[in-house]
Symmetry: D2
Subunit: 340 residues, 4 copies
């Protein structure tokens, strides 16, 4: 059985997922798309044999659409996700699930009313081989109970449109999700510390930032976000437990000895770093859809948590104070089983 | 357009390729299979919606077969490859192209008579990210002209059926192909040096072996083949050039600090090591078939070279002497363009 | 010319320095010692041909003592250092220079009144090859202006007598000194964050702790202090600049492949890690003494800074608040030249 | 007690050892020197308070010389070593012990006639921390019985005076000694394989060379000697055993991330690489002399073995054939105990 997918939003990320669903993942077909830019929607639809429809609602309700992928502008996500739930169709929503926490809660309520999970949020790091190995090491007990996590998220350069708030919303959000999953724990407070700014940034930008988190279990996380580090795209993560530590590897690359150094290349951007994770993410999601099973990836609750926590980070950046995160204390039992 | 594929030979490797063509590579479908064990052929065919036919010839000639994959017993390869050429259909043949050099030559003649390349031989290392990076480094001139290559090919354990000759035919053959491609050079002589045998081997086996090669350009290659190294599957390769060296990385894996050591896992077997290479190999081959283009992977000439060189290694193992390889001096111009 | 040295305090560290001055460093001789435990002083003095004297003052004033090493109990350091300054003799004082900041200031005043530097404080990390390379990289401009430093200081286990305050006073103090030197910058505020405690600690101990520092230039430093990490002694330091980063190496050790892993040993304790640094520290200090030159190592001001900053850390650990460090804003010009 | 040392030969290496015996190693003093260049001898002697004498014999026989260091021109070594034995004084002789095997045998006979070991040959690698760790790993049984060793010895550039024979005599000789010690085994045959020559060499030079050794126990060693590798000084060694492997580390150095790469420096020459080994070598040798104990380092037999094996390599380079080494089969029992 081929899973027929409707895609809402055909910008860069939407196009990349259409390519993925068409050329990389087997057993799927994109049958309908919508974009606010109608011409773009048609340009994207034609080569893969899909129809460009007149609205997100039409895509969701189309008879030849089994599941929906939402890659439109962030503020429109909630509407489309709620529409898919209303239609009883599985929906994969790129981050954020919704830009407002209240909208995330509406989705959570709607999904619970539906009675089974329909929503998966696009946090791909849970599908990265390194993080999965790290989770296995933690589960094995080899390093004991986790106490601290040290992370860095570095991009070579940020665009001009990148704002100080996006350091939380667009960048740190990936660590927030993957660490909640890795530790099977919830974040309870955040703080943002601001080093001297790099001169190699857009004038308005606070860059770098150091974000500090405390979890319910008392684990302390420090996360350096540095989006104009110049030298490349670099993701680091070390979890320190009672008996040892586990650290993500750098991506494998040949080592060259020449001109007085041993050197290996650093990736220029995130594409090479998480390409396999994206592929695995969609492979696993579409397999679940094909079987009629609930998705096993990040849930609506995880999407809500990300929005709440990034909101707290923005507040903490502005105030310089420690901001408590109380909204996540009571996770509905409905979402208890989704962690792996 | 979906590429419809017939598979001849449904043993372990055949089944794995069927899974790959069905679940991993998009745009392909397995429509027909043959195996000498009819029951097995039917068991394998049913779940993927293929028919089990009565002979390899029937598979090759089936109207719904666009291209053929040969994964049968080695001595039967030549017959099926020649059949596919006769039918004018692209054929992917697992190593060896043929167990006898004379049969390889027949294939080369038939393919040239046909007028365009139809044959690709299943040497997957050319599709490994590490070797491809190494080739890029060589092409960039960063380390100058290559002078030496140091390699090791280690397996944790060999089966009881593994013979001393198979160290050349089944194991070293991968390095032989990938190094000829990497260096864009031809092997001219071989020598086999035998260290003391490990006690952790089947009684009859010469293990480890060190194989020494000289190329037309004078590059010297040393290759340790050690198939009962106990500790895991480990592939090492360092090319030394006039200005520097380039070395394959170990597969990326998390580093664990515990109990007085920093450690990373070594893979237990080849599956994890070259899984991505196998996928890329089939993705690129089926894309070429879909476009009606000649394959760009290892050619019939490369398959012939592998058979000739492994034959020389077996002779060198027996004699202890340096064995010259003269049969490869004149590559037909027909095969000049296939290197990348 | 042989430098004749008097040692005040013949406990473990005193004995180790006597061994170093006798067996490792050339051109020096220990001629006089004092210890509150007279029998111990005599036991230590005899084998190296030194005399055990009746007081620290006698050691300082002995005609055959050219320079003094103070390795007595911390609270007695100030008295002996002031005594050496009064006698106009060079003095090497193990950390702390004085347990009270006020006593450090007395030393600073006395030294300035003397007119040239006589005091060196025993922070050996400035003599470690890795930190020195890191300082060279910073000086070269290869990574641009420093913005952040991420550090970890881990010991396998702490003794029962180790207190939560000692995490600052005895452990973090080494990073405090070496980072002030590395960055050529001053610490302006400190904060201590406390993760869940490891169960593998003495009951009373806050372990691990994360210490956060801000420098005058706005550099942010995070330092994990974890003195019961179980797996070994591990010092990590990564400086992040505007154009790149530089990281301390792990100590060189053979890599063993066996039983499914590649592993290298972690050192069990600090001795192996900084043995060469201790030797270089004494070699350079005694060379300066022999030439009648001012010492080039950590100064009385650096000793004062360490006491002030560790005091602020202890306060920050108790209060949980950010503690400003104002006392270091005006370094006397007398101490301007000592940085390298 | 201070060990008083006479040094014969005050060229570059002699001067370096005089500096080491004066400034680095404690408990020693250089009291007398000789050099064929009298002016140089005097220039070197004065600053350390030694006398320049009229001949090597005078140095050996001087009343204030307890032990002799021979760092003169290779062909004169045997004469001075024999002289020291005749005088019953310990003698440290830089490689080679003698340029002719026959002279080595005379030394061996003289030393046995003397009745206890007096001679140590200057192979410093046995004192390198990495090789010592490797020997400990082998002794621990962690990788089982050794089967193969893969080595590389690379220099950035050779001088104009460096000849093809020196690849064996001056370069490979270090690996020959350290591997015989590491494996506690004897070399039985050698072969030299010559890759295409690098264009970055003096015209007359065969560079690189690959040397193949077989030991009495059947261990196979391959050693790449490449003295114009351009990129730096690089020593690699991996021993492969029945259960695993052990590999020398690269020297510890900071890792810099900048401009798209992670890089660490390669040493420019051997000085930085083996400086600590040289220091340890002299520290241990002079300690043994001070105690009146036999030296524990490389013996006259090891010096003889080095001369015999490098001679065989030169023969093998010229002939291209495998050359058997028969002269080392019967080691006198006198030399049985010197291995560690």
């Amino acid at each position: 059985m081929t899973v027929r997918i409707g895609v809402i939003g055909t910008g860069m990320i939407g196009q990349d997922h259409i390519r993925r669903l068409t050329e990389v993942v087997t057993g799927t077909r994109v049958t309908a798309v919508f974009d606010i830019d109608t011409a773009r929607a048609e340009r994207v639809a034609a080569p893969v044999g899909a129809r460009a429809l007149a609205s997100g609602r039409e895509v969701i309700e189309a008879a030849d659409v089994d599941a929906v992928v939402v890659t439109s502008w962030g503020p429109t996500h909630a509407e489309h996700v709620l529409g898919a739930i209303a239609a009883g169709k599985p929906v994969f929503c790129e981050k954020p699930l919704a830009t407002e926490a209240a909208d995330c809660l509406k989705i959570i309520e709607a999904e619970q009313a539906h009675g089974s999970r329909l929503v998966q949020v696009g946090f791909m790091r849970r599908y990265d081989a390194g993080y999965r190995q790290m989770k296995e090491v933690l589960a094995s007990g080899a390093i004991g109970e986790p106490l601290m996590v040290h992370c860095a998220h570095r991009n070579a350069t940020s665009g001009e449109n990148y704002t100080s708030e996006m350091a939380a919303q667009d960048t740190a959000v990936h660590e927030i999700d993957v660490l909640r999953w890795l530790l099977d724990d919830e974040i309870r407070s955040v703080q943002v510390v601001t080093p001297r700014r790099t001169r190699k940034r857009p004038e308005h930008l606070r860059d770098p930032q150091i974000m500090l988190f405390e979890t319910a279990a008392g684990v302390r996380i420090d996360l350096e976000v540095f989006v104009n580090c110049q030298y490349g795209y670099d993701i680091q993560c070390e979890t320190v437990g009672e008996d040892g530590t586990v650290r993500l590897p750098d991506p494998a690359a040949v080592a060259v000895r020449s001109s007085g150094t041993v050197s290996t290349a650093v990736l220029p951007d995130w594409k090479g770093r998480f390409e396999n994770a994206f592929d695995t993410e969609f492979r696993e999601w579409t397999r679940a859809v094909a079987k009629g099973a609930e998705p096993t990836g990040p849930s609506a609750w995880d999407g809500y948590a990300a929005t709440v926590i990034t909101g707290a980070l923005v507040e903490a950046l502005e105030s310089g104070a420690i901001v408590r995160v109380d909204a996540l204390e009571k996770r509905p039992a409905f979402y208890d089983g989704e962690r792996r």
